[in-house]
């Protein structure tokens, strides 16, 4: 990472490894697709 990039870092709001991991798990629980549809091809629509 360049020095310029380091200066732009937005710090994490959640501290501590366990809390961060729990936050990520909780974030994914917000999503409730109705069906098992693979949307990977919807991202820029190519080979993937």
């Amino acid at each position: 990472m360049t020095g310029a990039t380091k200066k732009r870092v937005v710090p994490a709001k959640v501290k501590g490894a366990a809390s961060r991991q729990a936050t990520i798990a909780k974030a994914t629980q917000r999503i409730r697709p109705k069906a098992k549809i693979d949307i990977a091809r919807s991202v820029r629509g190519h080979n993937r």
Partner: protein, 198 residues
Amino acid sequence: MPARGRPPATRQVFSFSDSSLVLPEAVVVDTSFVVEVLSPTQPAHQAALAFAQRLAGADTTLVFNRLLELELDEAVYQLALKERHPKDWRRFRHDGRARRRANRLLTGFRAAWTEFLTAFDYVPYTVEEVADRVPELMIRYGFASYDAIHAATALDSGVSAIVAIDTAFAKLPQSRIAIYTDASRLSNCRRYRQVAAG
């Protein structure tokens, strides 16, 4: 029984399911990885989620281009269309009946992404910041323009790792960037790297 012979050359392409990986100090995240982490119905969701949690636990800084958020919106809108019209969803894009569901999904994904970011130090780039590098990357490596924006973000930030569920980034030289991807894309990424190196 241990595998016989020489292990395959990594070409700086690694599976994010590999528990022995040394995690990078900073990594560029591509939209394809974020979709996989946030949506529980994606095929590589569990592996991607576990890797994201490992990155967060290791204090890895995420670097991404804001284009990611727009690509996420588009993927989610298409999800709403596919839920309603599984077979012929493209034809129904403009009839408006999927918009209410799309709105709910978009709101959910945006909230999830915002919450996800709270667990990381991160550096957001804008498209404008890297746009000047895009034509060169397209010509030099054959990138599509949107892929080139994420690649340019990696090069501009000086970050030497990218996590993506996409083989396109294997066009970048292994001396410049390591790729973390899901196990099913490992051999293709390595093969593309070998071909690109000539």
